[in-house]
């Protein structure tokens, strides 16, 4: 790693993180509001009640503003793959290209075609056709998310592929293994339902604001009713799939789980941190613990459905644990180095036309390929393979605490609407408004947990960020980082300004 330009790696990572985090401001509202709008239009279609049309048109307008400003911001991530992460892009081959291509062809066109009908088709197409368009926009938006999340899940758990040493690329061997990768299935449902939750919080926050100003009270309350039920069901699904995600992480990314829980010393019947802080997070030789409230054995139950099972800690993973059958990082680094050397020897033998030697080296390479990425840490301190624990731990717990709050909020709002006491509960309306930015924080901390917790890997166990990055001038990456920062901030300001202006006009516009 002596020849690694760490400044370049860090700026490239920061650039990608900034773009992804900004992009994810716009996406969840599109994913969730599209369904809320489709539900509202369905009620209008079934009842013929004009108030639902008015309600739907108001939210459709806000949806349109968000969509217009957010659309195509994700393409920048694809630019970055080609420029800043070219080694990675080549290495993943068609595994990444196929899901993205399907997204472009199927979901994007489905979404944008019916988007035009949804916005401009009033009185031009039948009520039924318009309703179908509303649902297809929702389904199309969510299908776009599916393919992106399938690609992301593959990076967390690379399945359905085989590395071709001649082309130096991974080649897909089983499309359905990629699509139904257990990490992908859970990740998709967890991510989209969290986006629905965020959208429900948005509808409730805007409606609460209108109620506090005695504006459009009836419309606001009906909107809140739809959003509180939709939000409650969504957050329930988020919690259930969150549990599923924890099990996937325990199985495929045990270091991430240990970092999420600040678990340094593995144990049987490992506790779950309900709320707490990490002790001394500057210690390079980890010997940390948690100060806070822990639920005994709960981590073992959540991760493995067994209160007595052993959950490995960071130390077990770094140093190995013979009793538990955990290989040390030193051993995996050694194995990874054998894979890299065998690959080099294979290529050399092939060039020299020595088929026998090439086949021998290829076998060695295949035997050690699962540790390939570790080989890049040869001769280095295995502790460099530990992700940023504090950031992962606090992000994860922030997300969980906020998720629990949203569940309570949806219940409170629903029962207050049913009792017709919502207008009197000014405190609840104010809490609902505050909860919208909290929803944004929960979204972003969820992504930070998923992505920071798996560092240094870009592809789990196979490719670390330092190898994936393109060796270009750091100054160029810094310039584009700030360009993005300015552009995205301008877009965000525009969104807030236009959205606020539309909300102030209320339903009577």
């Amino acid at each position: 790693m002596d020849n690694i330009n760490w400044e370049l790696v860090d700026w490239s990572r920061a650039q990608f993180a900034l773009t992804a985090l900004y992009h994810w401001i716009f996406v969840p509202l599109t994913l969730g509001l599209s369904f809320i709008i489709a539900i509202m239009e369905t009620i209008y279609y079934k009842t013929g009640d004009e108030k639902w049309l008015k309600i739907e048109k108001f939210w459709l307008k806000l949806f349109g503003i968000n969509f217009a400003i957010g659309v195509a911001t994700g393409i920048i991530l694809e630019f970055e793959f080609g420029t800043n992460w070219s080694n990675y892009s080549w290495f993943v081959g068609d595994l990444f290209g196929a899901p993205l291509a399907i997204e472009g062809i199927m979901a994007f066109f489905l979404e944008s075609t019916f988007m035009a009908v949804l916005f401009f088709g009033w009185n031009k197409v039948s009520k039924r056709a318009h309703l179908i368009a509303a649902w297809l926009v929702a389904i199309g938006s969510n299908l776009s998310a599916l393919w992106i999340l399938v690609a992301n899940a593959w990076m967390q758990n690379p399945v359905g592929m085989e590395f071709n040493p001649d082309t130096m690329r991974n080649e897909m061997t089983d499309f359905f293994a990629v699509l139904f990768n257990p990490v992908a299935v859970n990740k998709f449902i967890h991510t989209i339902t969290s986006a629905y939750t965020f959208s429900a919080l948005f509808v409730i926050a805007v409606s609460s604001w209108l109620l506090l100003r005695n504006k459009n009270k009836l419309y606001a309350k009906y909107s809140m009713l739809v959003a509180s039920i939709f939000g409650f069901l969504s957050i329930l699904a988020t919690i259930i799939t969150g549990d599923g995600s924890a099990k996937q992480v325990a199985k495929y990314q045990p270091m991430k789980l240990a970092a999420m829980e600040g678990l340094y010393q593995g144990q049987k019947g490992a506790p779950l941190v309900a709320i707490g802080v990490l002790k001394d997070d500057n210690d390079p030789q980890p010997d940390k613990d948690i100060v806070g409230l822990e639920i005994p054995s709960m981590l073992s139950i959540l991760a493995f459905n067994d209160p007595n099972v052993f959950v490995p800690g960071i130390k077990d993973l770094v140093h190995g644990n013979e009793e538990q059958g955990i290989r040390s990082y030193a051993e995996r680094i050694e194995s990874g180095k054998i894979a890299i050397d065998a690959l080099a020897a294979y290529k050399k033998a092939k060039k020299e036309g020595n088929t026998e030697e090439a086949e021998k080296q290829l076998e060695i390479f295949k035997d050690h390929f699962k540790d390939f990425g570790y080989g890049y840490y040869y001769g280095k301190d295995p502790h460099t393979l530990i992700p940023p624990v504090a950031l992962t731990f606090y992000s994860f717990h922030t997300m969980v605490i906020l998720g629990t709050w949203f569940l309570i909020l949806f219940v409170l709002v629903y029962f207050s609407l049913m009792n017709n006491t919502i207008e009197r509960k000014k405190w609840l309306l104010r809490l609902a408004i505050i909860s919208f930015p909290l929803g944004f924080i929960a979204q972003e901390t969820g992504w930070i947990t998923a992505e920071v917790g798996r560092q240094p890997w870009v592809i789990q166990d196979l490719m670390p960020a330092m190898v994936a990055v393109t060796k270009i001038e750091t100054s160029g990456v810094m310039i584009t980082f700030f360009l993005f920062f300015v552009t995205f901030t301008a877009l965000l300001i525009a969104e807030i300004k236009i959205m606020t202006s539309a909300i102030k006009k209320g339903f009577n516009q």
Binding site: N3, I76, T83, N87, M168, Y376, T480, T487
Partner: protein, 58 residues
Amino acid sequence: MSQHGRRLWLIIMIKLFIMFAILKLFFFPDIMKTNFKSDKERVEHIEKQLIINTDKQK
């Protein structure tokens, strides 16, 4: 078209211009496509990145 509509179309146009006419053109070339003429050259480059550079780490 409403004032909001006009503003949104303007934002979309400016955004797409910045993304494709400035960022993509001047800052984000596809390295593997622009720097190498053939797949053979690309494979050799990746070999260098993934194998040869690691020898320096020994």
